[in-house]
């Protein structure tokens, strides 16, 4: 492993530790680390909503703007002041969660293959976030706004784009109300284009997570309101073109670029910003493992039920009119969008191992782990088990290595993603000789393919199709989610499950045994 890959692995293990710690307090559904993109959207919505109010009460002349902001900050602190602080802190929160979101996606290695689209379309949003926020500081037109406007103008004047240098707009006597209206216009237009860019960004993930769970959104809003009350946002003194402010209380989330420019040079800052952008854009182009084969539809085994279409995390399944059966539909995989996760195979009703066909072919299958081969592997491994308590484990390649649990009394079937598991396989394993079935995989929210864990949990609990039949006794099924670094947690879960199974007598809560007809017939 190269140095950078091992740093990334180490970072990922640390990130996953933090995430599982937070799971204990928030639950996966409201764990902020697992929903950084949704939090980003949430902060943006708050900033947009509060921005509308601020725009309405703002007097946008150069002379009036500072006074009108001072008015609602101090006289009307209980409304305008709080709204202003919420606007500011939501904007800061957006930068914070955006940076963490980039870090997290990077650590999880989500920047190449079919994900190039999400990654590349993320990059312009960084520029738009900064352009939105920095422009906001200019509007306040206090000493900080002036400082930022002049520093930004000095930065842009390095590029040969303006015939009259932008810096000249900020010399005494040259600033006009018209120029100021342009700034207001930009501070509305750029955030709206950010929203558009984000809409593009999430196009390739289906059912995208753009709004945090209730608990998380209420908690975050409450946090912002408390912050607004404890530390209300205030302006610096009114902008004075003939005086610089020696000391500024700058917002480092946005304005760090100015100190960075004065510590280097305008050209230096362009080099830093340009190189970082290029680096982000180049990441997907570096050599990466080749993507596994994509899902394949087998038309004779597809009845057009749409389950794969609904469950695919990347919108890679389309339902098209059946060419031969009028009024029916047929699934079709869009290879460019397919993540090769296998979640669709787990969704297909044709994946049931109880079908008596000699070679099981399902409606939508993964060439690298076909359902038919999985049934054979399961039959073979369970038949070979010995010992008082036989357990079949369904694991996931991305999660804690279930294969290390393999033993004389434990059969392990390693899936590409736990989401590939058709629930009927659990029943089949129990009726075919296993005393218990343990299903493991990444924790919810760690799943490389977004929904593998969640869909499996819902299918096995009967809340999602295809569901596990209610006749299957829950005493003999155990779910134990464990990320890559949580092997010991997985081992402990298996031991605990085994002890529990030992307390059940052989026939207690056991589904009727089942010998496949094709096996019975062929001996």
């Amino acid at each position: 492993m190269s140095l950078s890959a091992s740093i990334r692995q180490g970072g990922l293990a640390l990130m996953q530790r933090i995430e599982s710690l937070f799971d204990a307090f928030f639950g996966a559904a409201a764990n902020p680390w697992r929903h950084l993109g949704a939090l980003g959207f949430y902060f943006l919505w708050i900033a947009l909503a509060t921005g509308i109010y601020l725009f309405i009460v703002l007097d946008t002349g150069i002379e009036e703007i500072h006074t009108s902001i001072e008015y609602y900050t101090h006289e009307q602190w209980w409304l305008g002041g709080i709204v202003r602080s919420l606007h500011r802190y939501a904007a800061d929160g957006l930068v914070l969660v955006m940076l963490l979101h980039i870090l997290r996606e990077f650590l999880y290695g989500r920047f190449y293959g079919f994900r190039w689209y999400s990654w590349i379309t993320g990059v312009p949003t960084v520029w738009l976030v900064y352009a939105s926020g920095i422009g906001g500081y200019w509007l306040v037109w206090d000493q900080l706004g002036l400082f930022s406007a002049v520093a930004s103008a000095e930065w842009f004047d390095w590029l040969p784009i303006f015939s009259t240098p932008a810096t000249r707009n900020f010399l005494p006597g040259l600033l006009t109300d018209r120029f100021f209206s342009l700034l207001v216009f930009l501070h509305i237009g750029i955030p709206l284009s950010l929203l558009l860019a984000l809409w593009v960004h999430i196009q390739r993930v289906s059912q995208s997570d753009v709004f945090p769970a209730r608990a998380l959104s209420i908690g975050t809003l409450a946090m912002l309101i408390v912050l607004a009350l404890v530390k209300p946002t205030v302006s610096h003194g009114k902008a004075d073109l003939s005086m610089a402010s020696a000391t500024l209380h700058i917002d480092w989330y946005y304005l760090f670029i100015h100190p960075l420019m004065y510590a280097t040079s305008p050209a230096g800052l362009w080099a830093i910003a340009g190189l970082l952008t290029l680096l982000l854009l180049a990441l997907p182009l570096l050599p990466h493992p080749k993507q596994a084969p994509v899902a394949v539809v087998n038309p004779p085994n597809c009845n057009g039920c749409r389950r794969c279409f609904v469950d695919c995390p990347y919108g890679a399944v389309a339902m098209l009119p059946h060419p031969d059966k009028p009024g029916h539909e047929l699934a079709r995989v869009i290879p460019d969008l397919c993540a090769s996760c296998g979640i669709c195979a787990g969704a297909c009703p044709s994946s049931t191992p109880f079908r008596s066909v000699e070679s099981l072919v399902t409606g939508i299958d993964m060439p690298q782990q076909p359902i038919g081969a999985l049934r054979e592997e399961m039959e073979r491994k369970i038949a070979a088990l010995s010992g008082p308590v036989k357990i079949a484990v369904f694991g996931c390649e991305c999660a804690a290595q279930a294969s290390r649990l393999e033993n004389a009394d434990t059969a392990v079937l390693n899936l590409m993603c736990t989401g590939l598991l058709p629930p009927s396989f659990v029943e089949y394993a129990l009726r075919g000789g296993a005393d218990g079935v343990l299903v493991t995989g990444c924790r919810e929210g760690s799943c490389a393919y977004r929904f593998g864990t969640q869909w499996t949990e819902e299918r096995l609990a009967g809340r999602r199709e295809p569901h596990l039949r209610p006749t299957v006794p829950s005493e003999r099924l155990r779910l134990a989610w464990a990320d890559g670094h949580e092997m010991s947690h997985l081992k402990a879960a298996l031991d605990d499950f085994r002890k529990h199974l030992q307390t059940l007598s052989a026939d207690e809560k056991r589904p009727r045994a089942y010998t496949p007809r094709r096996i019975a017939q062929h001996g």
């Binding site: 307090f25 010399l171 989330y253």
Partner: protein
């Protein structure tokens, strides 16, 4: 494993701790640490102009022969060179040189404005500021000169501009 019930005090405390930390991180870097833009006791001199230099040559009358060669609608009697002079700048502070430079005219045919922007940090206090500029290649010496004793307050910005509509070198 702790129960995730929202009424479990441990869960509540953990969540409160996280939100508190979140707020502190957002709130702190929103205004801190302070950034010292200009060291105490210093002021700023900005040299900034964007203006055209004088044409590089005299205008002259065309001879009748030259006029005859031109298309009838192009027959203006006076011709002036389009190219502008670069603007030379020389600034001294209390007799010590502070800056010397040339702003070239913009445009492919060098007929556009000459532009410059420089900032200098100087100690606050009284200074003798002398600025000399030349915007005409046909004059060998500096044709715009201004010298003034000025007291700069700490953090004050003095702008040196060249505004020919306001009589040349301009301090503000």
């Amino acid at each position: 494993m702790v129960s995730k019930s929202p009424t479990n005090p441990l869960v509540l405390a953990g969540q409160a701790l996280f939100y508190g930390l979140f707020a502190v991180i957002i709130g702190y870097f929103s205004t801190s640490p302070d950034f010292t833009h200009i060291e105490p006791g210093r002021s700023l001199i900005k040299l900034s102009f964007s203006t055209q230099g004088e044409p590089v040559g005299e205008c002259r009358e065309r001879t009748p022969e030259e006029l005859a060669k031109l298309a009838p609608n192009m027959r203006t009697a006076r011709i002036c060179p389009r190219e502008r002079s670069p603007i030379k700048v020389n600034i001294a502070l209390n007799g010590e040189p502070l800056f010397e430079g040339v702003a070239q005219p913009s445009g492919l045919s060098k007929d556009g404005a000459s532009t410059i922007y420089k900032r200098f940090e100087v100690p606050a206090g009284e200074h003798l500021i002398s600025v000399k500029m030349n915007d005409n290649v046909r004059i060998p010496d500096f044709n715009h000169v201004r010298e003034e004793k000025m007291t700069l307050k700490p953090a004050q910005i003095l702008v040196i501009d060249l505004r020919k509509d306001r009589g040349g070198i301009f301090f503000e």
